[in-house]
């Protein structure tokens, strides 16, 4: 800790204060005790100066070297309190001069340190005393850098042409010979100050040459700061007259600000006093006293504690922020700009089984090792939290985390940037344990799968018995019986389709579907689908036109999945287009995609239902009237297939005019995926 800082932290007694005090002789405990006992005796209401006494008691326990500076500061505050109060709060009215005089008469001044004594000596001697302390600062601070020898030669130079020509500057300290003291006693105060100032100005210039501006100013600034902390305004004023102007350039400004501030405080206090006096005339004695007490106490506290209060407020606000982050029920971590962990809240520590001490300050990817949902590793640069830092975007991803005991957690992570003035300064991640949700989801899918498979047995029975009934295997049926049996048969067919669709949906949703791409000729595939649908098309006397790009290469696709897409879109086109309608299929190549367009001039999709068309179990109102048969699952399923193949699907439609669906498949083909199930099992 540098000297400047130790001066600035003057209110907190610490070992560094010894440095400020330069190991000089401190005030005796007896003398200090006398001063504070005397001050206390001037206050009629002990509760008013409780704070000062508490502080004094605390300081009196410290080593005399360490307590010296805080004690002087405390005196300054106590003195201010006394001169700002009036009887009956205190015994009589004081000015700082009368108070100091009184103290000088009850306390032996030679028992006080040089620093403390300055306050109580006659004004005339204050400049000299401060000048001597200033020399001490120079000796300690600049001497430590320059070496005593060089410093003393600079002091000799500065002394030329001033009354200090015979200043003794050898050994460890600089001594003012009694002759100088004698000389100053007969000189006008202004002249004395000017001599001191001239000396310091020359010395400062000498220091600049040897040390540069910044270092040269340091002893003067340090002294000035300390003086402002521990001395009342009237004393620091002396200092301003003698210290080199240039050295205090920035400091002076602060000094004048404080001067202004104190004047305002004085004015305001005076106004308060006036108000108080007026009130005193109107109110009862008891109320008067009470009011005076309150006012005085408040203004005192304001003057003394403003700065500390600000500091406390800032600390409180930060503590509150920290508390909020720590108390959030979701697991949360925060990283700085380069990805080092700044915070891991308790929920995250528990969930991920990490200790704060092992995480803070470390690179996030070294501490929180997330993998892809399927357990494959994620390259460092693709970890969402780092991506968020790089791009400033929010990411929402499901990943796998392995705990210490090898237990795997499925987690959902949302990472968001922390921005200040539009610049990313860090990122935060919120982690949610979705292991149970995933498990329930899996169970749901399994249940649907199991139930649907089981349904196939009774459906087979219904289907086959109806088949035999209709085939006359149980004897010839009359027309009405035939019609009934036919209805049963149709309904059974629908039920079978529904079961198949449900199974496919649950397979797609579970992500367990197997993708087995192989080079596929799309033209052939489409023709196969058309062959299956031929009977229906002919039945409805519809026109089907197929046009496929001439040199379409074989594409790596899972034919079972893509067949489902064509089958579905074509079945829809046939079902939802009136007899003798037109259906066209165009397959073309554009950029890196194969685009398939399937158009009809059928019933179309109502405008207000367009956004629902890919939803599960949705069927448009206009076609339900025309064609009751349908599950509302087809488009939902094929959208899932197309999108999982990295393609897109969309449509345009006008009610009464027709519908066109488009979907793309990447020429590069589908990615193989290991899975447990296929469609149509």
């Amino acid at each position: 800790m540098g000297l400047l800082q130790s001066i600035q932290s003057i209110f907190t007694p610490s070992n560094d204060l010894e440095k400020v005090f330069f190991g000089k002789t401190p005030s005796t405990s007896v003398a200090v005790e006398k001063i504070f006992t005397h001050l206390q005796s001037l206050v009629n209401k002990p509760e008013l100066c409780e704070e000062f006494i508490d502080k004094y008691q605390h300081l009196s326990l410290l080593d005399p070297q360490k307590r010296e500076i805080p004690v002087i500061k405390l005196y300054k505050n106590f003195e201010f309190f006394i001169i700002k109060n009036k009887p009956p709060n205190i015994t009589k009215e004081y000015t700082s001069a009368t108070l100091r005089q009184e103290i000088a008469s009850v306390v032996p001044l030679n028992e006080l340190s040089d620093f403390f004594r300055v306050i109580f000596i006659p004004d005339r001697e204050k400049s000299t005393a401060l000048f001597v302390i200033g020399l001490e600062f120079i000796n300690q601070i600049s001497g430590a850098i320059l070496g005593q020898k060089q410093l003393h030669s600079l002091i000799d130079q500065a002394a030329q042409g001033t009354i200090f020509v015979d200043l003794q500057a050898d050994g460890q300290t600089i001594v003012m010979p009694p002759a100088i003291n004698e000389k100053t006693k007969t000189m006008p105060v202004r002249e004395v100050k000017s001599q001191y100032n001239k000396f310091y100005e020359t010395l400062h210039q000498g220091l600049i040459t040897s040390l540069g501006e910044e270092k040269a100013a340091e002893p003067f600034i340090s002294f000035n700061i300390l003086a402002q902390q521990i001395y009342a305004y009237d004393i620091t004023e002396y200092l301003l007259d003698i210290l080199p102007k240039e050295a205090l350039d920035g400091q002076k400004l602060e000094f004048f600000d404080r001067q202004e501030l104190e004047r305002i405080v004085h004015e305001k206090t005076a106004q308060l006093d006036l108000v108080k006096n007026q009130l005193e005339q109107q109110l009862t004695q008891f109320q008067e006293q009470n009011q005076a007490l309150e006012d005085t106490k408040k203004s005192m506290l304001n003057v003394l504690e403003d700065v500390e209060e600000e500091k406390n407020n800032a600390q409180l606000a930060k503590a509150k922020d920290d508390a909020i982050l720590s108390s959030i029920g979701e697991a949360l971590f925060v990283v700085d700009l380069i990805g080092n962990i700044e915070l891991v809240n308790p929920v995250a520590q528990e969930l991920l089984e990490i200790h704060e001490k092992d995480a803070l300050g470390k690179l996030v990817t070294n501490v929180l090792k997330f993998k892809n949902e399927d357990g494959s590793p994620i390259p460092q640069e693709n970890q969402p939290i780092l991506t968020t830092l790089n791009t400033g975007g929010q990411i929402n991803q499901t990943m796998l985390y392995t705990k210490k005991n090898d237990k795997k957690l499925t987690v959902n992570i949302i990472t968001s940037p922390i921005k200040q003035n539009d610049k990313v300064i860090g990122a935060l991640g919120i982690i949610r344990d979705i292991t149970k949700e995933k498990e329930i989801d899996r169970m749901k899918t399994e249940f649907i799968s199991l139930a649907s498979h089981q349904l196939r047995t009774p459906l087979s029975a219904i289907r086959w018995f109806t088949e035999m009934l209709l085939g006359g295997d149980g004897g010839e049926l009359n027309n009405e019986q035939k019609e009934f049996a036919k209805n049963i048969s149709d309904s059974t067919q629908r039920m079978i389709q529904l079961v198949n669709s449900l199974l496919n949906i649950s397979r797609m949703e579970s992500g367990r579907i197997l993708v087995d791409p192989r080079p596929t000729d799309l033209k052939e595939l489409v023709q196969g689908v058309v062959t299956d649908l031929k009977a229906k098309i002919e039945d409805r006397k519809q026109n089907l036109l197929i046009s496929v790009h001439d040199d379409l290469p074989k594409i790596n696709l899972d034919p079972r999945l893509i067949r489902q897409v064509y089958l579905n879109l074509l079945t829809n086109a046939i079902k939802y287009t009136p007899k003798e309608g037109e259906i066209t299929v165009f397959i073309s190549k554009k950029d890196g995609d194969i685009i398939t367009q399937i158009s009809d001039n059928g019933y179309g999709i109502p405008r207000d239902q367009k956004d629902k068309i890919f939803q599960k179990f949705f069927r448009a109102t206009n076609i339900i009237k025309v064609e009751t048969d349908g599950t509302g699952l087809g488009l939902y399923l094929i959208k899932a297939i197309v999108e999982s193949s990295k393609g897109k699907i969309w449509f345009e439609s006008e009610e009464g005019k027709g519908t066109t669906f488009w979907f793309t498949l990447p020429l590069s083909g589908m990615e193989a995926k290991k899975g447990e199930v296929t469609l149509d099992e």
Binding site: R456, L459, S460, A461, M468, G471, D473, V677, E681
Partner: protein
């Protein structure tokens, strides 16, 4: 050669389905050996002189699954050439591949086909089977 009607062994533990299949096979002019469990089918095969021309096998049986049944069938040189059609309410690629690998002729999903379609498939099996092997 065309001594009598072909005989089909049906192994199906669902009574109603077994009943429907049996009835249809008979109506179609073939003979049928109805078995409601895997063990019953094995016992039959052991006890009769004239082996069936084809087996209709439900994959999920109460006492064993299709895999166990196929293995027993293939372990016995007298039985290994009998064509088998597997009919199941579930057809994961794994199951299908295993059964075809073990020598099943075809694997189809229940409820996806009419009875007469399935019987046509079985008739084709019987016709395709080498008469020499059949005699053995």
């Amino acid at each position: 050669m065309s001594k009598q009607n072909p005989t089909i062994m049906v192994v199906e533990d669902e009574t109603l389905l077994l009943q429907a299949i049996t009835k249809k096979i008979k109506i179609s002019g073939m003979d049928v050996l109805s078995c409601s469990s895997g063990q019953q089918a094995i016992d039959y095969l052991n006890s009769i002189d004239e082996l069936p021309d084809a087996v209709w096998l439900d994959y999920y049986l109460k006492d064993m699954n299709g895999l166990d049944f196929m293995q027993q069938l293939k372990e016995n040189p007298k039985w290994e050439h009998i064509p088998v059609l597997v009919v199941s309410n579930s057809a994961s690629p794994e199951k299908v591949n295993t059964m075809l690998g073990l020598g099943a002729k075809k694997y189809i999903l229940k409820a996806e086909h009419r009875l007469d379609e399935i019987l046509t498939i079985i008739r084709e099996f019987i016709n395709d089977t080498d008469p020499e092997q059949k005699k053995q």
